[in-house]
């Protein structure tokens, strides 16, 4: 029972590890999606902090070097979110550098729709403008104020409320997109999307005539965008700060997107979970046939040969089983492939069943444990008890379950059966990250389930055996 419990507890870490492996393999050579450029796959040794990002951009702007133009663009993009980190530290720069940075920030002021910004003509005026702006508004750049301002705007849009919100610029994006997600009033979502569109300079707004579905899609678009860009506008705090090396990765972004959208779609355009559900019956049937049918048939054969007494029978059975396992499945597929679909199903089932049987026969014949080594040739001794042979067969087949599942995948592909195997080969050839991670996780769960069941069966068998011995005295 302890083994079953251990396996059950181990299944979650296994899923995490195999999904990491699958994502690494599938995404390693794929170009990163838009917005994920420069992000590492699984571990970010230098997670982004807006404070560092903004200050480095300001220094590059002040130095007027080769990167100045790019740094100015970055400062404008960071916008209001960078102000709490920049404006209080402006004094630490030289006057000329201060003026350069202040002037570079003026497009942000214009985006904030601050009237006085139109009157600013040069660097010194820009410096004065930002100093006075920060003196007047530094209290607004707080999470509680932002939440209140955004909520007021979402409830009812007035010019003053709009002005208040736009003045916070990108600092309010987090709150805007969060409130957009939970907004039950379509008008609120429309207002918030318009504000976000202005601040982030994206065209994703909800028109008045939009259907609920279109509105929902726009909100999801904002959420997806925010998931990719959040780390450029907000500083992680608490647990997020500690986990930033893991969270600011392509895997974390993919995972959050996958959980939000139910694993999204595979490259064929179908919903990933639907594809998984549709193709599961074929794979699970073949796998179960190999596992259970193979074990039963293997034990039956073992019992039959045992009844013949002569060890030649059992030797022959093991020899045939070993030879069968030595023939690559691909060759078997090529030999028995048939154009008729029904025949293909039958032949695929037969191949899987025979593979399971071969494994079962090989394992059933040899005792293991209790100080005895498995012997390849000592077949005759192994069949003392059919029950023991059955137990060994099931344990052996379960130990080879992953190989058997691989055989099922290959057979499904070879016979063109609509199962996980065929889909996985397609996904591999098309580098479909979503399907590959999903299938690796699914196989880990399926195989984990098999191992748990076998461990549970073994412990129950052991308990029954002990009880029987006790009752006999």
């Amino acid at each position: 029972m302890r083994e079953a419990l251990r396996r059950a507890l181990w299944i979650l870490p296994t899923i995490v590890l195999v999904s990491l492996l699958a994502f690494w393999a599938a995404a390693r050579n794929s170009p990163p999606p838009q917005g994920e450029e420069g992000l590492p796959l699984l571990f970010n040794s230098r997670p982004t902090r807006i404070e560092t990002l903004a200050w480095n951009a300001a220094l590059s702007t002040a130095n007027a070097g080769a990167e100045a133009a790019h740094a100015e663009q970055l400062l404008v993009r960071l916008g209001g979110a960078a102000l709490p980190h920049l404006l209080p530290r402006l004094d630490s720069l030289d006057p000329s550098e201060r003026r350069e940075v202040a002037w570079a920030l003026m497009p942000v002021a214009r985006r904030m729709r601050i009237r006085e910004a139109a009157d600013v003509k040069d660097g010194p005026e820009a410096e004065q403008f930002w100093i006075s702006f920060w003196q007047d508004h530094f209290v607004d750049f707080k999470p509680t104020v932002t939440r209140r301002v955004t909520a007021r705007f979402a409830t009812r849009s007035t010019p003053l409320r709009r002005e208040e919100l736009l003045r916070l610029d990108t600092y309010a994006l987090d709150e805007i997109i969060d409130q957009m997600r939970v907004a039950s009033d379509p008008a609120a979502a429309r207002r918030l999307s318009a504000a976000a569109s202005h601040i982030a300079e994206k065209p994703w707004t909800i028109p008045e005539s939009a259907t609920p579905l279109a509105a929902r899609q726009t909100v999801e678009l904002w959420q997806a965008w925010w998931a990719r860009h959040e780390n450029k506008y907000t500083d992680p705090a608490g647990a997020e700060y500690l986990l930033a090396p893991a969270l600011q990765t392509r895997y974390a972004l993919w995972l959050s997107e996958a959980l939000r959208t139910g694993f999204g779609r595979v490259t064929t355009g179908k919903a990933a979970l639907d594809t998984l559900r549709e193709t599961a019956p074929s794979t699970v049937f073949l796998f179960a046939l190999g596992l259970l049918g193979g074990s039963l048939l293997g034990v039956a054969l073992v019992a039959l040969f045992r009844a013949r007494k002569h060890p030649l029978w059992t030797r022959a059975a093991a020899g045939i089983a070993l030879s069968w396992l030595g023939i690559p499945t691909v060759l078997l597929i090529a030999l028995v492939r048939h154009p008729n679909e029904d025949s293909q199903r039958f032949l695929a089932s037969a191949l899987v069943l025979l593979s399971g049987t071969a494994v079962a026969v090989l394992h059933a014949r040899s005792p293991s444990g209790r100080g005895r080594e498995p012997r390849t040739v000592r077949f005759g001794r192994a069949f003392e008890h059919v029950r023991g042979a059955g137990r060994r067969a099931i344990r052996g087949v379960a130990a080879n379950a992953s190989t058997l599942l691989g055989v099922v995948f290959l057979i499904e592909y070879g016979f063109d059966l609509p199962g996980w195997g065929r889909e996985t080969v397609r996904a591999v050839l098309q580098r479909d990250v979503t399907w590959l991670v999903l299938i690796v996780v699914s196989t880990a769960i399926l195989l984990g389930f098999v191992h748990i069941l076998v461990a549970l069966g073994q412990s129950l068998f052991q308990l029954a055996r002990e009880r029987r011995i006790r009752s006999r005295g």
């Binding site: 296994t14 690494w24 393999a25 030879s323 690559p328 390849t376 050839l429 880990a444």
Partner: protein, 262 residues
């Protein structure tokens, strides 16, 4: 039994060594003579037996080093890992067990597919490395379990009759050898099968003919060329039966009664 053992050794070891060396011999011949075996095409429906046989030999020069490399690396790494587990700190055993379970959570074919797409340029080295890692963990787990069992046996029986641990261990090495031979046979078969499967799917290493890719190429044709089938089946059977024969000898060498005694 002694006679049988001797004849078994006479048959089994040359068979194994011959199989191991034939690839190198073909490769050597090809390199020295500059023979144009590399220009032979994969078998097709019209391929003659001779052409297919030439390809088979040529592929053998690539396949056998791959199999031997995987065997060597996985055995060495597996033995080293099991040594660390048996003689190292306790947590290593748990780590190896978790690794083994992790390996069992993904079908090897799927693992290889992932490995193949993770490689920028699929190569023979990557294939060898991936398979060696997978099989090394399996072998290490097997050896570690056997080692622990031997320890328990010694504690139960060996110590009581005054046997020395070193002597006990030396005697048990023969049993370990038998297990390693079993595992080696399975690994060799698995390498061919997985190579063939990858070629069949279209993820084989391009420009590198192996026995697996030969089978894969033949399978892609729909109706397999008869000569290819004969050669592929013959090769598979020879490998398996050779390994089987070798195992029989190994098991008899352990001093256990021969199978006929049952």
């Amino acid at each position: 039994v002694a006679e049988k053992r001797r004849s078994g050794s006479l048959l089994g070891w040359p068979l194994a060594l011959g199989a191991g060396c034939s690839g190198f011999v073909v490769w050597l011949l090809q390199t020295v003579t500059g023979a144009a075996l590399g220009t032979l095409e994969a078998p097709n429906r019209e391929a003659s037996f001779g052409a297919a046989f030439g390809f088979f030999l040529h592929a053998g020069a690539y396949a056998l080093p791959v199999v031997l490399a995987v065997l060597f690396l996985s055995l060495v790494a597996g033995a080293a890992l099991s040594g660390i587990v048996l003689f190292g700190p306790q947590p290593f055993e748990a780590v190896l067990r978790r690794l083994h379970e992790l390996g069992a959570a993904i079908p090897p074919l799927l693992l290889l597919m992932l490995w193949r797409i993770a490689e920028p340029n699929p190569s023979r080295i990557g294939f060898i490395a991936a398979l060696s890692c997978v099989f090394a963990v399996e072998i290490a787990q097997l050896l570690a379990e056997t080692g622990r069992r031997l320890e328990r046996t010694y504690d139960d029986r060996g110590e009581a009759v005054g046997a020395r641990w070193q002597r006990f261990l030396t005697n048990s090495v023969v049993e370990l050898r038998s297990q390693l031979a079993t595992q080696a046979a399975l690994v060799a078969g698995a390498v061919f099968a997985l190579d063939a499967a990858l070629s069949f799917i279209g993820l084989g290493v391009r420009g590198m003919p192996t026995w697996g890719s030969l089978i894969g190429a033949a399978a892609q044709l729909g109706n397999v060329a008869p000569s290819a089938v004969v050669l592929a089946l013959g090769g598979c059977f020879a490998t398996v039966i050779g390994a089987y024969r070798l195992l029989s000898i190994q098991s008899n060498d352990t001093g256990q009664p021969a199978a006929g005694a049952d």
